[in-house]
Amino acid sequence: MKALYKKLAIQNLTKNRTVYIPYIMAQTLMVALFYDLLFLEGNKKILYLPGGETIQQTLAYGGLLMGVFVMIFLFYVNSVLIKQRKKEFGLYRVLGMEHRHLKKVIFYETSIANAVSFVLGIISGIVFSGLMYMILLKILGEKAALAFGISGEAIWYTLLQFGFLFLVVLLYNYRQLKKVNLRELLQEHAQGDREPKTKKGLMIFGIICLIIGYGIALVVRNIFASLIWFFVAAIFVIIGTYALFTAGSIIFLKKIKEDKEKYYTPRYFTAVSGLLHRMKRNAAGLAGICILSTMILVTCAMSVSVFFGQQHAIRTIFPSDIIVTMSGTSDPQQDIEYIKGQAEKAAQQTGISVKEVKLSDLSEVEKSMTLVEGTQNVQIELSGSDEEKYECSTRLELNTEDGSYTYQSAHFISKQSPQEGAQSIRATYGGFLFLGIFLGAMFMVATVLMIYYKQISEGYEDRQRYVIMKKVGMNDEEVRESIQTQVLLVFFLPLVMAAVHILAALKIMVQICGILSIGFGTVFLCTIGTVLVFSLIYKGVYKQTAKVYYTIVDQQ
């Protein structure tokens, strides 16, 4: 008996492979990413790197975020899949299977799907962990070494996370089984969706939410409030997007329909009428794709900005080759002369020359961080390569007492060079970049999966319609054209919306990056670049799924 349930479960999974393979693949990838994140977070070698602790803290925070997102997303995908299969369950019931038998089949199905993706995920996670490790080191500016290791702890925590997900999903699937109503299931669902009503109120509500969200994003001035307001604005924008897609898409399509010259052409006729009728169910999916795309864009744009802004940030924080900070000086000119003398000595030993030594004011950031009154900076400019400058900086000797540099009236508090500071900056920024890549990849997988399922389910729905139209006399080319219009509308509406969101978020992104001393120009260029690259990837996904859609519609 047991063997039968197992066999049935495997059969069901293979029969529904068009939907289950992408699901298992996505879950595999998420397991792998999750494992890798945990692996790096707990890696001792990274902890002992300069700035390693900072990075691991950033990764831990990212792990938490990822855990929550993965749960929500995979749960959602599973719920979509199981709902599609209700008819199949109804048939089993009619054929004489009892509820408890079906429960067993479902148990095996869910177990197999989860076990396969977990094992594959851990294996690919282990394989890729070495690569991730290398990338992380590279970002940190360390010499990259390929390390291979398996972390039992990381596997255990991944198992906990996905085991919990498995339980939740299993219970949910059981519940769905209970809800199967035989009489309803066996009746043909001939009734199509009715043409949805125009909801002007909802659209206005959506627009207001968007305005509030955008407003917050554009008005906030305080740098440190940015982070909190960013989330508040994001929530408004998410609600607004959902409302706008639900109501706006219908209004948009009805507009096309009213334009009779346009509507009554092969290109728009079937596509627009088809879209209009299923927009009620579709809008949420489109809004979801839009929001995920925005998340990808924001995460990637910020990470890339941080990466490219790193050099600039180092330059901002360390405006010259060596900075000597001193306090309580009564005769700055004399101190500078002394520093200059010492610097020249050090430069001579290294084989380079001193270009300029000058007094400078503290920057805003430094003022807020320095506790000692009357602090002044002396900037030393050198000629030579970075290595030579660094060498010179280590050779520079200033008289010190009690760990602080003193000369006559002055206390020299510290001596810093960009090369020294860069390490701690790379640790902080590198952590952000790495996390950005991780989260970006995860959101990307989620978006692709959502788009794929959307196309498949629509393909099945539309098949009958295209069969009829072919009988009536639509040729393959016209079918292709009509599908293109339809898929294009579905795909590029969310992308355009996401681009608008990004535009509104730009100011707040600049402010947040400002904390890390990254300028407007960098953020702006990086955002544009990210949007372009993402559009290209998105277009690729669109082409691929349009192909799948066409195959479904075309099969006899």
Binding site: G192, S273, H277, V472, G473, N475, D476
Partner: protein, 253 residues
């Protein structure tokens, strides 16, 4: 005058996994004159659906020729076949094949839209046809809001709107109740009186008795044919029943 000529058409299906061939049509020959109203009868498996699909250019014969006004249809390209279906043929199916996402009006206009007709021409054409089929009041409704009979009349309107040379009907009364079926058959008779050529495939004796001529197909061949001539519908009904009995019992013709 001869409109459609079917010459020694043969159709053999080869199953996908190599192996066996199934002969759906062995040797079919007949012709239809302009303005005729012909019913093709046969048991399920006799090959009548295959024949209809070939006539509709949805399928191609293995051997033999089909001529419409002297032009051969057998090997039209996919694109030309679609254009041909749209412009020369009107279809009426058993399960209506209306699109749920289009209103009755838009369903009727579909072939015109696909052919790229200007908007005002479409509106001009739909009015008289809708009036003739008694669906003028339903134009703004959707297929899921109207009855089976109304759906089938909508499908007939869609079939007629291109002024096709031939109306092909596949079991048009199959999904209708007896009242709606009678109404539909009256409509067919009426459009035929106006000069429209109609070819109907059916296994309903009632439906076939409305036609002017009935062809019987058995084992992929034309087995027998009946002309109605001056007979009444009741007499015709009786004669069809006799032929069917003969076919069923394997008697000689």
């Amino acid at each position: 005058m001869e409109l459609l000529k079917v010459e020694q058409v043969k159709k053999i299906y080869t199953t996908k996994l190599g192996g066996s061939n199934v002969q759906a049509l062995s040797d079919i020959t007949f012709s239809i004159d302009r303005g005729e109203y012909v019913a093709i009868m046969g048991e399920s498996g006799s090959g009548k659906t295959t024949l209809l699909n070939i006539l509709a250019t949805l399928d191609q014969p293995t051997k033999g020729k089909i001529l419409l006004e002297g032009k051969e249809l057998g090997r039209l390209s996919e694109k030309k076949a679609a254009k041909f279906r749209r412009e020369q043929l009107g279809f009426v199916f058993q399960d209506f094949n209306l699109l749920d996402t289009l209103s009755v009006k838009d369903n009727i206009l579909l072939p015109l839209v696909l052919s790229g007709y200007p908007q005002n021409e479409m509106m001009k054409r739909i009015k008289p046809i809708a009036a003739r089929l008694h669906i003028s009041d339903l134009l703004e409704k959707y297929p899921y809001e109207i009855s089976g009979g109304q759906k089938q009349r909508t499908a007939v309107a869609r079939g007629l709107i291109m002024n096709p040379k031939l109306i092909l009907a596949d079991e048009p009364t199959g999904a209708l109740d007896s009242h709606a079926a009678l109404q539909l058959l009256d409509i067919f008779a009426e459009i035929n009186r106006d000069g429209q050529t109609v070819l109907m495939v059916t296994h309903s004796t009632e439906a076939a008795s409305h036609a002017k001529r009935v062809l019987f197909i058995k084992d992929g061949m034309v087995y027998h044919q009946l002309y109605r001539g001056e007979r009444s519908r009741e007499e015709m009904y009786q004669m069809i029943t006799n032929v069917l009995t003969a076919i069923a019992t394997g008697g000689e013709r």
